[in-house]
């Protein structure tokens, strides 16, 4: 594997381009001609009704599967995933779970342990938490471990598949802020899948609205306001503004006037 490009290399790369991607599971089309681009170092949000093929598209961006037609172009070499289910190994403690992804890299045990230890602190877990097995951790802590595992491999592309949707509201906000801080600090290109427009508005630089299955791009929205400046009032107003767009509202199955 090639050495990890540092963040400056990532920013100068052209980012992510999805070009006319179509895909079908058997006879059933899932994605039709989906195209969008995301500059490097930005956060993109794929939003759409459940089952519209967002996760399928995310898996393709991460190189886990190939589209039937179209292509996905990017220069990232080390994508990292975090899923809605944290997918921790039940038989490994938190620390070992964080180090799991590092086993794919040419790295000695000592360095692996040191990195896992560092990440444990970065996502706000204590030394003691590191010794705990997944069933001993709360839902929020498990999601933190999953996040630490993704960041541990020093990714240049972060792919988040509804990582907050299983958490309750307060916890979700906390985790969103944490993720935002971590990816901002590293200037990481990020693709976040969600079905929550408020979450998209809070976190994304570019929102790609997908229509119900078979998905096509219904609308593209850019949000130029810096992440730090997006308070509750802004999010509320922006969600309203986006839902005033008929294409967006239709895709998300909300009546245009019924802003949330």
């Amino acid at each position: 594997m090639t050495p990890a490009p540092d963040s400056t290399a990532a920013t100068s790369s052209p980012g992510l381009v999805v070009e006319a991607v179509s895909h079908a599971f058997g006879p059933e089309p899932v994605l039709t001609e989906v195209s969008f681009a995301l500059p490097a170092g930005k956060v993109g949000c794929l939003i759409g009704p459940s089952g519209c093929g967002k996760s399928t598209l995310l898996a393709m961006i991460g190189g886990l599967s190939r589209p039937d037609q179209g292509r996905i172009v990017h220069a990232f070499v080390r994508p990292a995933f975090a899923f809605q289910d944290p997918c921790l190994l039940p038989w490994r403690d938190a620390r070992q779970n964080i180090a799991f992804g590092l086993k794919a890299l040419p790295m000695g045990r000592t360095e692996r342990d040191a990195r896992a230890e560092r990440l444990l602190g970065i996502v706000g877990l204590s030394e003691d938490d590191g010794d705990k097995f997944p069933h001993e951790l709360s839902g929020g802590m498990r999601q933190r471990v999953a996040l630490a595992r993704a960041l541990a491999i020093d990714p240049d592309l972060v792919l988040l598949d509804e990582p907050f949707s299983a958490l309750d509201v307060g916890l979700r906000r906390q985790m969103q802020a944490l993720v935002q801080r971590l990816i901002d600090a590293r200037g990481l290109t990020t693709v976040l899948v969600t079905h929550d427009l408020a979450e998209a508005v809070r976190m994304a630089d570019r929102i790609v609205v997908l229509s119900p299955r078979p998905a096509r791009v219904a609308a593209l929205h850019d949000i130029a306001v810096p992440h730090a400046a997006r308070d509750d009032g802004f999010v509320h107003a922006e969600v309203g503004r986006l839902l005033a767009d008929p294409a967006t509202a239709r895709a998300l199955a909300v009546e245009p006037e019924a802003s949330r």
């Binding site: 886990l64 994508p79 995933f81 899923f83 997918c87 190994l89 038989w91 799991f100 794919a104 929020g140």
Partner: protein, 273 residues
């Protein structure tokens, strides 16, 4: 991280826990002594006579070779049973068709009494160690089969996907994902099969005269020597206890710390973040 000190404390804890077991075993010895007092040596020799006989037999060099022979036969048969049962079970877990084909056979094999296998293996292999190995193998394989099938079937697709997303090499996939999962399913069945394999081995040896502990028991029976018979039984019991407490129980604790069922795990669960 688990320090050496914590490990030592755990080990001491484990050994200390042995007092309870020792107390209950000594109670049994007391009952045994009472039985001896009531019925006499021919029916139930006293513990002291029995231990003395066992000591004499050991000094004569009869016990150790028998233990080795029985253990070897039991272990070979057991390992064969685990490999055959595990492999067929894995096949049944992977393919629905194989499961439908194999599961009834496994159930049927499980239903055949061990003693029937002893008779068959004597007819097929005569009074050799092979008869013992075969009997142990066919009795332990179906026990392992069902849990291997269940283990493979329940391999979490999400974990596999996660491992693929992180592009871990196959070695890591097997070692960190597949094996621990399979072990948690296989372990109870394998432990049962291991304990059973010694008993089956002794039984087969007794009937086949193929040497080992069973042969010693057969000789004691022919000589109507209850003391010797009891001494051999002690040997078997000691072996089983050693396997259970020196091998299986520590392994069980080590392998399954991550499981919720472990006492104390619930208490450490924390609400909130």
């Amino acid at each position: 991280m688990i320090t050496l000190r914590a490990r030592l404390a755990q080990a001491l804890d484990y050994v200390w826990g042995g007092w309870g077991a020792a107390a209950s075993l000594l109670l049994l010895v007391a009952l045994w002594e009472a039985g001896h007092a009531a019925y006499g040596t021919l029916v139930l020799p006293s513990p002291r006579e029995t231990f003395a006989a066992l000591w004499r037999m050991t000094l004569d060099g009869r016990v150790w070779p028998a233990v080795v022979e029985t253990s070897r036969n039991a272990l070979v048969g057991f390992l064969g049973g685990v490999v055959v049962g595990g492999a067929l079970g894995a096949l049944a877990g992977l393919s629905d068709m194989m499961r439908r084909l194999l599961a009834p056979i496994a159930t049927l094999m499980l239903g055949i009494p061990a003693i029937a296998w002893v008779v068959l293996s004597l007819l097929w292999f005569g009074g050799s160690g092979l008869a013992v190995v075969f009997t142990v193998l066919v009795t332990s394989a179906p026990i392992v089969f069902a849990s291997a099938a269940e283990g493979v079937r329940s391999l979490d697709g999400a974990l596999r996907r996660m491992a693929r997303a992180f592009r871990v090499p196959r070695r890591v996939l097997v070692w960190d994902v597949y094996l621990p999962h399979m072990l948690s399913y296989l372990f109870p069945a394998v432990a049962t099969a291991l304990a059973l394999s010694w008993k089956i081995a002794v039984m087969t040896e007794l009937l086949s005269g193929a040497g080992g502990i069973g042969d010693g028991l057969a000789t004691a029976r022919v000589q109507v020597d209850t003391v010797k018979a009891m001494a051999w039984i002690l040997v078997v019991v000691a072996l089983l206890l050693a396997i259970e407490y020196l091998l299986l129980e520590p392994l069980r604790r080590r392998l399954l710390t991550w499981r919720r069922e472990l006492p104390g795990a619930e208490a450490r669960d924390m609400p909130g973040i």
